[in-house]
Point group: C2
Chain length 370, copies 2
Amino acid sequence: MARFHFADTSDSDMFYAVGGNISDPFFLIEMEGKSKIFLNALEIDAFIDRNKNPAIEALPLDPFQQKAKTSEKGNELGKLALAILESSGLSSKPLGVSRKFPLDVADYLRSRGVVLSVKTPFMPERAVKSSQEIGCIREALTITDHAFKIIEQILSESHIEDQKVIYREEILTSEFLKKRASSFLFENGMDDPEGMIISSGAQAAMPHHKGAGPIRPNETIVCDLFPRSRESGYFADMTRSYVKGAPSPHAAKMYEAVKLAQDKAFELIRPGVQARDVHNAAAKAIKSAGFEVGTKGFIHSLGHGLGIDVHESPSISGSSEHILEVGNVITIEPGLYYPEFGGVRLEDVVVVTSQGFENLTKYQRDFVIK
Amino acid sequence: MARFHFADTSDSDMFYAVGGNISDPFFLIEMEGKSKIFLNALEIDAFIDRNKNPAIEALPLDPFQQKAKTSEKGNELGKLALAILESSGLSSKPLGVSRKFPLDVADYLRSRGVVLSVKTPFMPERAVKSSQEIGCIREALTITDHAFKIIEQILSESHIEDQKVIYREEILTSEFLKKRASSFLFENGMDDPEGMIISSGAQAAMPHHKGAGPIRPNETIVCDLFPRSRESGYFADMTRSYVKGAPSPHAAKMYEAVKLAQDKAFELIRPGVQARDVHNAAAKAIKSAGFEVGTKGFIHSLGHGLGIDVHESPSISGSSEHILEVGNVITIEPGLYYPEFGGVRLEDVVVVTSQGFENLTKYQRDFVIK
């Protein structure tokens, strides 16, 4: 079944299909490994100038825009879509579309008899990374490693005074650590389009709290960085948890449980294994350490695919239908969250190989920073 | 009619609706100026912690997820959407949805009798900016002004040697200028998520060519920066065109025509004026200066709304139906493009006021840099 889409490359499937950024939305038709893209006058020459993929044919939108300009008003984009499909002989064939396909265009096409069915994921092949893509992720992770070194260094050079963490005579804050990490990432070719998490205390017990204000001593600090390479478009994703000073016995126990859960997950990863079994192995380790899974404790799934989206297919959850295959790049990130004790999460990125897996995150998992 | 959507805040309507970033997609119901958002367990506490808008009620997704878990498999998201609509008594009322509403969820809801109609734009109120929003855009533009100062300074301190522009004994490139501008923007709280254009020579004749390689002396250089404030999420957008050295008489004439077109557009801007008349005034000036409009010369529309998208409503084009109103923030960016002569574009951002307009771009429009 041919695939059809209309979007700009902020839609990752489109970025994947054309291998770079195109600012204005364009039409894509994919069949039998070949793509046609239909670009407006502002984009087409620049695209042809940089495109190196012979399987992509770039065509101008202009003639179709002329054709779609009929007397009746409205549905301009739908008419354009129909004219493009007709030119490729596809207007009477079933087409696979993304769940992100514009709803008004879908409505128009269907009213003209075009059969559209939603495919989720739209480009399942993205879950299997090429060696080039793995190289991009590896590079992104290496830079991210260094950002963690900077965070640890600052925590290590700080001291505790009056229930505050003090760095160079100032109260150390989430904002300061994020600024330092972010600057390093930027200088090394990475953006953090979705921000980063550096949270402590009760904030760290909210998995998606970005963190703000003073870093709390003797309490857990969750640092989750998910920057993207400006050059390649690929993301890194990595989490470490720390305590500056002395953790409570309960926090130390949480950390050990999370570390064990990650190790138990690693033991299972190889081609042919059900993703949900990997999640369940981690969940079992959490439970055996005396913690909860579900609405308290370990409240999220173990991991997710990583690539040109920070969260992409496959999902590594208890309900995942995915079977691991060579080239899957996934995060393994068990966590525990309790408002009264804080949060702990450890996240590495692994690639599934014929031998099992390679952990692309080379960084240590130290917890206590004196 | 109530509005209904499911997306994360990379969908600008959702960012606008909740006033900040939420990483995971969530459901939004809006009616009579009040919003309900339905967030998963990872997001809800962090959102409530930072939300300051009493018109937004945050509710947990969990109970609906339980309700949506029926025996039959598939359409999980559609079932969830239906459960949410039922809980608000909206499953039998017509609902306005975004063209970005997930197509598979729309298909499921419609199969259950829910009436969805696509509203484009989904949140037309975004086209009228509050004074706070105008303040955010003004701030973003002020920082962008400075980035242009840096670019001009480098061009001004360069010299021409052997058909190359030389800066500090190195050949000056698009990449170098972009890096310097980008670093300055980053240090001042701005990202350039969609990159920037610094192109010269034949590249400058392709409006969306980002620019690469040596800056060409005595030829046009187009610099188009559209960075976004990390803090506010609002974009700046600004273009200047230069020649380092001496422009050809033809390029100089192009520049004068573009400048005249921008001035003619400015003369018309006030509340109640048709956006297309503003475009047409600029096009007329271009033609009267002896250049083409349409498939050659001035090949794009005059401008667009600016806010949390770099391109948003209203469109300032020859076919726009929009009537300017107080609070519209729009770009005015005529341009001329000829492969043999290069490209020239000038872009300012203006806000429509009761008196006419204010030009938020305070920067000079110098062309020749000796």
